[in-house]
Subunit: 204 residues, 2 copies
């Protein structure tokens, strides 16, 4: 991900306002830039909110205030297309009945939006050429996403990963390569096709 | 795919042998370079063996002699990891019993080899940033791969694409992102996990 790491703004000297204290949006950007750099250098797990604050020259409490949890800092810094906490709260924690359908619908709604899927495919591209980027993505997906889904549902990780592989494969075939008829099939038809597969993995 | 299109060797003047006729390996390379350029410019379907021969300055019969069918020229030019004709003959045309297991094993054997999967992920990366590359890959996958699998098995295309999405998703999670335990699971375990999904799509 090193190519997405922007410079940390020179606090207080930007925007032709020498001597002024940085505004909230400059500070926010400085925190995101520091986060991108640390996630790329140290990986997801070894990066702390405290270290991100220190690298951005702000208090850890301010990082919390701006973004919330470390997952949320990652989601904002990498433009990850959704917050895993939302997925858990809104989809996975709901009734078991209809869960497979809701999961497929949730991911179709995420990938449907080109502005949400583009950064995710950029992260995947980085991961396919750069082991550091792959490690960062792997750690984030493992601890923020898969472990929590598996824990909430009481499922073996391998089954959650089979389901994740099906969903990301659908995104690739439907949106990246754009193979017909899957590319243009109505969402209801895709849900009807794929939900039984997710059901199978969840009932393992 | 434009970044993978190499220059056509200057026939007869390379290798410090001015005036000599090009050897077979130079001609072979010239055909592959012409093929890469034409597939990228015109797409897979509109490119013909005849046009590839013309662009490389050789007879179409020589292109046939070197590579075989247009699919095989594409497989060689793009370093596509397997020949669709082999998949049809060795896997899809076999007995229906055990077909799902054979399909999963076939793809695991293809992706397992880093030298086979690297060019495929390079094509996928191109497709995710470049609409021309996406169109070329889409046409090849549609006509050389999915249409033939669907035809041989008498299945709707959408079901074949669901199965393809599952298989390519497994490759991404297992080999590109490398998420555990899927990344290190023995192949037999992956076959046991994924074959029921392929079975479901094939029994549509």
């Amino acid at each position: 991900m090193t190519e997405r790491v922007g410079p940390i703004p020179d606090r207080g000297t930007g925007s032709g306002r020498p001597g002024r204290r940085p505004g909230p949006s400059q500070t926010r950007e400085a925190v995101l830039a520091a986060a991108r750099r640390l996630f790329a250098e140290r990986g997801y797990e070894k990066t702390t909110i405290r270290a991100i604050g220190r690298a951005a020259g702000v208090d850890a409490a301010l990082v919390h205030h701006f973004f919330g949890t470390k997952e949320q800092v990652f989601v904002a810094a990498m433009a990850f297309p959704f917050d895993p906490a939302d997925l858990i709260r809104d989809v996975v924690s709901g009734p078991r009945e209809g869960l497979a359908q809701r999961l497929v619908r949730f991911f179709l709604s995420v990938w449907r939006d080109p502005e949400a899927r583009a950064p995710f495919f950029a992260i995947l591209r980085s991961a396919s050429t750069n082991e550091q980027a792959a490690a960062m993505l792997r750690e984030f997906i493992s601890s923020a996403l898969l472990a929590r889904v598996a824990g909430t549902l009481g499922l073996p990780r391998l089954r959650v990963e089979g389901a994740a592989a099906q969903l990301v494969g659908i995104a690739l075939v439907r949106y990246v390569v754009g193979v017909e008829p899957l590319a243009s099939a109505p969402e209801d038809e895709v849900v009807a096709l794929v939900a039984p597969v997710i059901e199978y993995y969840l009932n393992g």
